[in-house]
Symmetry: C2
Subunit: 141 residues, 2 copies
């Protein structure tokens, strides 16, 4: 039985959300910096349980999101057909510092497109995940 | 002369950002609710100076973002070609309550896909707008 929310959107369970996260490579991370909300597009890789983002030292993301609660959103929406899905998760962002994990991530598909520079990898472990799917004739955003 | 940021991305000026905002219909709004960051995909319409979003009464967006500072992000990124752009703005979200403005918005292209319900229109007046464009061989996220 499909669960529908108050807006008429299909509610996705955690397994469905995780499956969709694994299909995407670009998401948006939201956090607070200097008391202001910030949202930025990022490349990411979902390793099955955590969101991994490569970023640069000294970036707003690296400085403000480290050890802070962040929200992370991924969607694939067709505005013409009014179909698509979105997944939102909330969790604490931390820097990957474990040497073995970092070595393992060297072979992971987490591109950072910016040329050169000192990079680091931020990891978001989801505490909460929610997802919605909209269908033709059904609900919407 | 094209300005480039520390990550090698082309910096877009306000006019370029506004032009890109006018081409899009789906964005992501980020705000704080119960001390937690939230990011949600929304349909929107940019009227040339303000972002207009139709939402429902009692939604998290309507309740938490009203009269609060929010961040709003729009992008169009091709993850395979490593090209695209993103625009981020920050501003205060308020409900449109002026009757003449609401009548005018009835004819505006700000769809809300969810069926029925009491709607309201939130308006974000940008205080800050910034944009980046990434090109093949250039920088990235």
């Amino acid at each position: 039985m499909v669960e529908v929310d108050r807006n008429g959107l299909e509610v996705l369970d955690r397994t469905q959300c995780e499956r969709l996260l694994a299909t995407a490579t670009i998401g948006r991370i939201a956090f607070t910096s200097g008391a202001l909300p910030i949202v930025l597009p990022v490349n990411f890789w979902f390793d099955g349980s955590r969101v991994l983002i490569r970023t640069g030292r000294g970036t707003k993301l690296e400085a403000a999101a480290r050890d802070a609660v962040v929200a992370f959103e991924v969607d694939d929406i067709d505005p013409m057909a009014h179909t698509g899905w979105s997944v939102v998760l909330t969790g604490i962002a931390s820097e990957v510092t474990d040497a073995a994990h970092l070595r393992q991530l060297e072979r992971a598909p987490i591109a950072r497109w910016a040329p050169g520079g000192n990079g680091c990898v931020m990891m978001v472990t989801p505490e909460l995940i929610s997802g919605r799917r909209m269908n033709v004739g059904g609900g919407g955003l």
